[in-house]
């Protein structure tokens, strides 16, 4: 039989885990997308050498598991003198991971902008930076917004792994609770539902943000 009632007494454990997960998600989403934007811009418009550097970064991250990246950063880097707290290591790993995926996604958006738009900006006298920020970015992001936000949610769900280096996130809370009350199934089920709620909430938030960012699609 399932017993959920005695999980209630652990609600603050769950809550604090949820808080950590949300905090890390918000922070790494912002940092990761920023990193991806910079890398995608370099990949699309930079010189040969810098394009190669970005490609190597993207392929290395996309073709290795997140948990190994996390272990490498948390266990491996201190061995060469870079001490990191679990929280710092997680934040770096998540940012680097999302950064690589969003580089690929955002680059596709940049590539979708027609040459004509860039030339129109040029003949109006805009410099490259102005062209990027005023003319290219918004339509480019609009094109790939669904893919980008899905990836952010995938990374949020992937963050469950950081409990393995004892960051006290939602999964850590689940492990803690089940080790105390020995009701693994209930504890994990509740946690899974919390994650589900979080991903649905995130999707709503992203949609709302998208409506504001790309308001021109819907207005008069």
């Amino acid at each position: 039989m399932l017993y959920f009632s005695d999980l209630l007494q652990y609600s603050d454990v769950f809550f604090s885990g949820l808080k950590t997960t949300v905090e890390l998600t918000v922070l790494t989403t912002i940092l990761g997308v920023a990193l991806g934007t910079v890398c995608a811009t370099v990949r699309q418009y930079g010189n040969r050498a810098s394009q190669h550097v970005v490609s190597v970064y993207v392929e290395l991250i996309r073709n290795t598991p997140f948990i190994v990246q996390l272990f490498f950063i948390f266990f491996g880097l201190p061995a060469i003198g870079m001490m990191l707290s679990p929280w710092q290591a997680s934040m770096i790993a998540l940012t680097i991971n999302l950064g690589a995926y969003s580089t690929e996604i955002i680059r596709a958006g940049l590539a979708s902008i027609s040459k004509g738009q860039v030339e129109a900006a040029k003949v109006l006298g805009l410099n490259f930076r102005q062209t990027l920020t005023r003319v290219i970015f918004i339509p480019a992001f609009e094109k790939i917004y669904p893919a980008l936000t899905s990836q952010c949610i995938i990374v949020m769900l992937g963050s469950a792994v950081i409990s393995q280096i004892s960051v006290q996130d939602l999964t850590y809370a689940a492990n803690l609770v089940q080790s105390r009350n020995f009701r693994a199934f209930e504890s994990y089920l509740v946690t899974a539902l919390l994650y589900l709620g979080l991903s649905i909430l995130l999707r709503f938030a992203f949609n709302a943000l998208g409506k504001r960012l790309f308001a021109y699609r819907t207005s008069n």
Binding site: E59, L60, R62, N63, T64, P65, F66, I67, V68, Q69, F71, F72, F75, G76, L77, P78, A79, I80, I153, L157, G158, S159, A160, V161, Q164, T171, A174, Q178, R183, A184, F185, Y188, L189, T191, A192, L193, Y195, L196, S199, I200
Partner: protein, 216 residues
């Protein structure tokens, strides 16, 4: 303490890689089988069936793979069903893989022009005949590249099986690390092995995509 030479480390890691590959294959086969069933359910146009598929996808794409593994492993044994780490890993990776593949394939089927269904019905083909002779051959062509691409996610997903104690590449990596205290070297090697498994598939997927785009 046992001394591990570089050779020992590599030998152990490569041995463990076999399990990673085996688990990936099992999950991929399981995942495609379930995804095929789910795709068929969706194509029936029966609202109840479609709803089930939708909820399935929502559940397994909306929760962490790690949590699914915990539920399969600790949860099921808690409920009295004994399950090995290997079984739990295959089961949860099958859910995970199928939930993503069914969505990927839906995208592929949706890219086929609606006229294809209508034209076939006008020619008097039944639903199954339309599927078998018209839709599937085209959809398979479109779907191959993203499916191969997704197999990379499956391989990477198997790394989480280490958390529930299944001894594959990542697990052996952490075990070797505990024995040698050479995390930098060990995890670099582990990452490289994963890279060598995944990167060719990524390249192949890109190649297929290009070939397909050229041919149409």
């Amino acid at each position: 303490m046992i001394e591990f030479s570089n050779y020992d480390i590599l030998r152990n890691l490569l041995f463990a890689t076999q399990w990673t590959i085996l688990l990936s294959l099992a999950a991929f086969i399981g995942g495609t089988t379930v995804a095929l069933t789910l795709t068929a359910m969706r194509l029936t146009r029966n609202p109840a069936m479609q709803r089930i598929v939708k909820i399935y996808v929502e559940l397994f794409q909306g929760t962490p793979l790690l949590m699914q593994m915990f539920l399969c492993f600790f949860g099921l044994s808690m409920l009295g069903y004994e399950i090995s780490a290997w079984g739990a890993a295959i089961l949860s990776l099958t859910f995970f893989t199928s939930a993503f593949l069914v969505e990927i394939w839906r995208g592929c089927i949706d890219t086929l022009p609606k006229g294809q269904w209508e034209a076939s019905r006008c020619l008097g083909l039944s639903f199954l005949q339309t599927l078998r002779f018209i839709i599937l051959p085209q959809a398979i062509r479109v779907a191959t590249a993203p499916t191969v691409g997704f197999s990379v996610q499956v391989i990477k997903g198997t790394a989480l099986a280490s958390v529930i104690g299944f001894v594959e590449l990542t697990k052996v990596g952490t075990m070797l690390n505990n024995a040698t205290f050479e995390p930098f070297k060990i995890f670099t090697l582990v990452a490289l092995i994963y890279f060598m498994l995944c990167y060719p598939l990524s390249l192949y997927s890109k190649h297929l995509e290009k070939k397909f785009n050229v041919s149409r």
